[in-house]
Amino acid sequence: MEDANIQNPKSVPLFAITNQPLDPTPLVALVQAPDMGAVVTFAGIVRNNFGGRATAFLEYEAYESMAVLVLEQLATEARATLGTGAIAIHHRVGRLEIGEIAVMIVVAAAHRHEAFEAAERLMDRIKEVAPIWKKEIWADGASEWVGNEIARKAGTSESNKETG
Protein backbone atom coordinates (compact mmCIF):
# COMPACT_ATOMS: atom_id res chain seq x y z
CA MET A 1 0.00 0.00 0.00
CA GLU A 2 2.96 2.33 0.48
CA ASP A 3 3.73 2.49 -3.22
CA ALA A 4 0.66 4.68 -3.80
CA ASN A 5 2.06 7.34 -1.51
CA ILE A 6 5.15 8.93 -2.91
CA GLN A 7 3.99 12.51 -2.53
CA ASN A 8 6.48 13.37 0.19
CA PRO A 9 10.21 12.85 0.41
CA LYS A 10 10.09 11.10 3.77
CA SER A 11 9.25 7.47 4.21
CA VAL A 12 5.95 8.23 5.95
CA PRO A 13 3.11 8.84 3.47
CA LEU A 14 0.49 11.53 4.03
CA PHE A 15 -2.33 9.04 3.40
CA ALA A 16 -2.21 5.40 4.31
CA ILE A 17 -4.18 2.30 5.20
CA THR A 18 -2.05 0.15 7.45
CA ASN A 19 -2.22 -2.85 9.74
CA GLN A 20 0.49 -1.34 11.92
CA PRO A 21 -0.14 0.72 15.10
CA LEU A 22 -0.67 4.43 14.39
CA ASP A 23 1.72 7.04 15.74
CA PRO A 24 0.92 10.76 15.57
CA THR A 25 4.50 11.98 15.94
CA PRO A 26 5.77 11.45 12.36
CA LEU A 27 2.49 12.79 10.95
CA VAL A 28 2.81 16.02 12.92
CA ALA A 29 6.33 16.44 11.59
CA LEU A 30 5.06 15.76 8.09
CA VAL A 31 2.44 18.55 8.03
CA GLN A 32 4.28 21.22 10.01
CA ALA A 33 5.49 24.29 8.15
CA PRO A 34 6.87 27.69 9.23
CA ASP A 35 3.69 29.55 8.29
CA MET A 36 1.40 27.09 10.04
CA GLY A 37 0.51 28.29 13.53
CA ALA A 38 -1.70 25.35 14.42
CA VAL A 39 -1.52 21.58 14.15
CA VAL A 40 -4.58 19.65 15.29
CA THR A 41 -4.22 15.93 15.87
CA PHE A 42 -7.34 13.81 16.10
CA ALA A 43 -7.19 10.16 17.11
CA GLY A 44 -10.22 7.91 16.80
CA ILE A 45 -9.94 5.25 19.52
CA VAL A 46 -11.55 1.85 19.81
CA ARG A 47 -14.20 2.20 22.52
CA ASN A 48 -15.29 -0.52 24.92
CA ASN A 49 -18.98 -0.27 24.01
CA PHE A 50 -21.35 0.68 21.24
CA GLY A 51 -24.66 2.06 22.45
CA GLY A 52 -24.01 0.52 25.83
CA ARG A 53 -23.34 -2.99 24.48
CA ALA A 54 -19.91 -4.30 25.51
CA THR A 55 -17.36 -4.64 22.72
CA ALA A 56 -14.61 -7.28 22.79
CA PHE A 57 -12.58 -5.93 19.86
CA LEU A 58 -13.02 -4.50 16.37
CA GLU A 59 -11.99 -5.60 12.92
CA TYR A 60 -11.48 -2.98 10.23
CA GLU A 61 -11.42 -3.78 6.56
CA ALA A 62 -10.72 -1.46 3.64
CA TYR A 63 -10.75 -1.38 -0.13
CA GLU A 64 -7.21 -0.30 0.48
CA SER A 65 -6.05 1.17 -2.80
CA MET A 66 -9.27 3.13 -3.27
CA ALA A 67 -9.42 4.19 0.38
CA VAL A 68 -6.02 5.87 0.07
CA LEU A 69 -7.27 7.78 -2.98
CA VAL A 70 -10.45 8.83 -1.16
CA LEU A 71 -8.52 10.04 1.89
CA GLU A 72 -6.40 12.15 -0.41
CA GLN A 73 -9.51 13.52 -2.18
CA LEU A 74 -11.13 14.40 1.14
CA ALA A 75 -7.99 16.21 2.25
CA THR A 76 -7.90 18.11 -1.04
CA GLU A 77 -11.54 19.06 -0.46
CA ALA A 78 -10.79 20.27 3.07
CA ARG A 79 -7.78 22.27 1.96
CA ALA A 80 -9.81 23.93 -0.80
CA THR A 81 -12.87 24.75 1.29
CA LEU A 82 -11.21 25.67 4.61
CA GLY A 83 -7.84 26.91 3.46
CA THR A 84 -5.77 24.66 5.66
CA GLY A 85 -2.20 23.63 5.09
CA ALA A 86 -1.02 20.06 4.74
CA ILE A 87 -3.17 17.19 6.00
CA ALA A 88 -2.19 13.63 6.86
CA ILE A 89 -4.66 10.79 7.42
CA HIS A 90 -3.80 7.24 8.40
CA HIS A 91 -6.38 4.52 9.00
CA ARG A 92 -5.73 1.19 10.60
CA VAL A 93 -7.13 -2.14 9.37
CA GLY A 94 -7.19 -5.61 10.88
CA ARG A 95 -7.96 -6.53 14.46
CA LEU A 96 -7.92 -3.62 16.91
CA GLU A 97 -8.17 -3.92 20.67
CA ILE A 98 -9.96 -1.54 23.02
CA GLY A 99 -7.91 1.64 23.40
CA GLU A 100 -6.01 1.33 20.14
CA ILE A 101 -6.02 4.12 17.56
CA ALA A 102 -8.19 3.31 14.55
CA VAL A 103 -7.73 6.56 12.65
CA MET A 104 -5.38 9.52 12.88
CA ILE A 105 -6.11 12.89 11.27
CA VAL A 106 -3.46 15.60 11.47
CA VAL A 107 -4.19 19.04 10.07
CA ALA A 108 -1.89 22.04 9.81
CA ALA A 109 -3.32 25.52 9.35
CA ALA A 110 -2.26 29.09 9.79
CA HIS A 111 -4.72 29.41 12.68
CA ARG A 112 -6.42 26.92 14.97
CA HIS A 113 -10.01 27.49 13.89
CA GLU A 114 -9.55 26.04 10.39
CA ALA A 115 -7.46 23.19 11.75
CA PHE A 116 -10.09 22.10 14.29
CA GLU A 117 -12.91 22.47 11.80
CA ALA A 118 -11.08 20.52 9.10
CA ALA A 119 -10.28 17.67 11.48
CA GLU A 120 -13.91 17.35 12.51
CA ARG A 121 -15.29 17.59 8.99
CA LEU A 122 -12.75 15.10 7.69
CA MET A 123 -13.79 12.56 10.30
CA ASP A 124 -17.43 12.99 9.24
CA ARG A 125 -16.54 12.59 5.57
CA ILE A 126 -14.39 9.53 6.17
CA LYS A 127 -17.31 7.87 7.89
CA GLU A 128 -19.61 8.81 5.03
CA VAL A 129 -17.64 7.79 1.98
CA ALA A 130 -14.25 6.19 2.63
CA PRO A 131 -14.44 2.49 1.71
CA ILE A 132 -13.47 1.34 5.19
CA TRP A 133 -15.68 -0.95 7.26
CA LYS A 134 -15.85 -1.75 10.95
CA LYS A 135 -16.98 -5.02 12.43
CA GLU A 136 -17.97 -5.05 16.08
CA ILE A 137 -17.14 -8.26 17.86
CA TRP A 138 -19.26 -8.12 20.96
CA ALA A 139 -18.21 -9.39 24.35
CA ASP A 140 -20.87 -12.12 24.06
CA GLY A 141 -19.20 -13.49 20.91
CA ALA A 142 -21.68 -12.19 18.33
CA SER A 143 -20.50 -9.83 15.63
CA GLU A 144 -21.83 -7.46 13.01
CA TRP A 145 -20.73 -4.94 10.45
CA VAL A 146 -21.48 -1.48 11.75
CA GLY A 147 -23.26 0.50 9.08
CA ASN A 148 -25.68 -2.31 8.37
CA GLU A 149 -28.34 -0.18 9.99
CA ILE A 150 -31.32 -1.18 7.89
CA ALA A 151 -30.66 -4.87 8.29
CA ARG A 152 -30.14 -4.43 12.01
CA LYS A 153 -33.34 -2.49 12.52
CA ALA A 154 -35.28 -4.99 10.43
CA GLY A 155 -33.84 -7.82 12.47
CA THR A 156 -32.68 -9.53 9.31
CA SER A 157 -28.97 -9.25 9.83
CA GLU A 158 -27.31 -12.61 9.37
CA SER A 159 -24.20 -11.18 10.91
CA ASN A 160 -25.52 -11.48 14.45
CA LYS A 161 -25.10 -15.19 14.18
CA GLU A 162 -21.57 -15.10 12.90
CA THR A 163 -18.75 -16.51 14.88
CA GLY A 164 -16.41 -13.80 13.67
Binding site: E61, Y63, S65, M66, L69, Q73, L74, T76, E77, A80, D124, R125, I126, K127, E128, V129, A130, P131, I132, W133, K134, K135, W145, V146, G147, N148, E149, I150, A151, A154, T156, E158, S159, E162
Partner: protein
Amino acid sequence: MQITIRYFAGHRDITARSEEQLELAPGATVGSLWGLLVERYPRLAGYSGRMLYAVNQEFGTLATALHDGDEVAFVPPVSGGTPILDLRFTILD
Protein backbone atom coordinates in the same frame (compact mmCIF):
# COMPACT_ATOMS: atom_id res chain seq x y z
CA MET B 1 -16.35 -8.10 -21.79
CA GLN B 2 -14.87 -9.28 -18.56
CA ILE B 3 -15.49 -7.37 -15.32
CA THR B 4 -13.94 -7.93 -11.91
CA ILE B 5 -16.22 -7.41 -8.92
CA ARG B 6 -14.79 -6.81 -5.46
CA TYR B 7 -16.83 -7.68 -2.37
CA PHE B 8 -16.30 -6.13 1.04
CA ALA B 9 -17.76 -6.34 4.53
CA GLY B 10 -21.38 -7.53 4.49
CA HIS B 11 -21.25 -8.20 0.75
CA ARG B 12 -18.31 -10.55 1.20
CA ASP B 13 -20.22 -12.38 3.92
CA ILE B 14 -23.21 -12.85 1.60
CA THR B 15 -21.27 -13.89 -1.50
CA ALA B 16 -18.65 -15.87 0.43
CA ARG B 17 -15.93 -14.47 -1.81
CA SER B 18 -13.84 -11.34 -1.97
CA GLU B 19 -13.90 -11.02 -5.75
CA GLU B 20 -15.02 -12.71 -8.93
CA GLN B 21 -14.93 -12.21 -12.68
CA LEU B 22 -18.08 -12.03 -14.78
CA GLU B 23 -18.55 -11.94 -18.54
CA LEU B 24 -21.01 -9.17 -19.41
CA ALA B 25 -22.69 -8.20 -22.66
CA PRO B 26 -21.68 -4.93 -24.29
CA GLY B 27 -23.64 -1.97 -22.98
CA ALA B 28 -23.61 -3.16 -19.39
CA THR B 29 -23.77 -0.55 -16.66
CA VAL B 30 -23.16 -0.56 -12.94
CA GLY B 31 -26.93 -0.82 -12.52
CA SER B 32 -27.37 -3.78 -14.86
CA LEU B 33 -24.47 -5.56 -13.16
CA TRP B 34 -26.06 -4.99 -9.76
CA GLY B 35 -29.28 -6.50 -11.11
CA LEU B 36 -27.38 -9.61 -12.17
CA LEU B 37 -25.69 -9.90 -8.79
CA VAL B 38 -28.98 -9.61 -6.90
CA GLU B 39 -30.33 -12.50 -9.00
CA ARG B 40 -27.24 -14.51 -8.21
CA TYR B 41 -27.09 -13.54 -4.51
CA PRO B 42 -30.65 -12.59 -3.47
CA ARG B 43 -29.56 -11.44 -0.02
CA LEU B 44 -27.73 -8.54 -1.65
CA ALA B 45 -31.12 -7.02 -2.48
CA GLY B 46 -31.35 -5.36 0.92
CA TYR B 47 -28.47 -3.10 -0.08
CA SER B 48 -30.14 -1.75 -3.21
CA GLY B 49 -30.21 2.03 -3.20
CA ARG B 50 -28.04 2.52 -0.14
CA MET B 51 -24.55 2.02 -1.45
CA LEU B 52 -21.81 3.87 -3.17
CA TYR B 53 -20.53 2.56 -6.49
CA ALA B 54 -16.90 2.42 -7.55
CA VAL B 55 -15.52 1.70 -11.00
CA ASN B 56 -11.74 1.43 -11.21
CA GLN B 57 -11.56 2.98 -7.73
CA GLU B 58 -13.51 6.11 -8.62
CA PHE B 59 -17.05 6.80 -7.51
CA GLY B 60 -19.69 6.30 -10.16
CA THR B 61 -23.44 5.91 -10.40
CA LEU B 62 -25.83 3.17 -11.46
CA ALA B 63 -25.69 4.65 -14.97
CA THR B 64 -21.90 4.42 -15.28
CA ALA B 65 -21.01 2.37 -18.38
CA LEU B 66 -18.70 -0.60 -17.93
CA HIS B 67 -15.81 -1.58 -20.17
CA ASP B 68 -13.69 -4.66 -20.58
CA GLY B 69 -11.26 -5.04 -17.71
CA ASP B 70 -13.08 -2.72 -15.32
CA GLU B 71 -12.97 -3.36 -11.59
CA VAL B 72 -16.30 -2.68 -9.90
CA ALA B 73 -16.97 -2.45 -6.19
CA PHE B 74 -20.36 -2.03 -4.58
CA VAL B 75 -19.53 -0.17 -1.43
CA PRO B 76 -21.86 -1.16 1.40
CA PRO B 77 -22.56 1.44 4.08
CA VAL B 78 -19.35 2.41 5.81
CA SER B 79 -18.55 2.96 9.47
CA GLY B 80 -20.80 5.94 9.98
CA GLY B 81 -23.85 3.85 9.34
CA THR B 82 -25.97 6.35 7.44
CA PRO B 83 -25.45 6.19 3.70
CA ILE B 84 -25.01 9.78 2.59
CA LEU B 85 -24.58 9.90 -1.15
CA ASP B 86 -22.76 13.19 -1.23
CA LEU B 87 -20.20 12.92 -3.97
CA ARG B 88 -19.23 16.54 -4.22
CA PHE B 89 -15.55 15.81 -3.83
CA THR B 90 -15.47 13.88 -7.06
CA ILE B 91 -15.43 17.18 -8.92
CA LEU B 92 -11.95 17.75 -7.54
CA ASP B 93 -10.68 14.75 -9.45
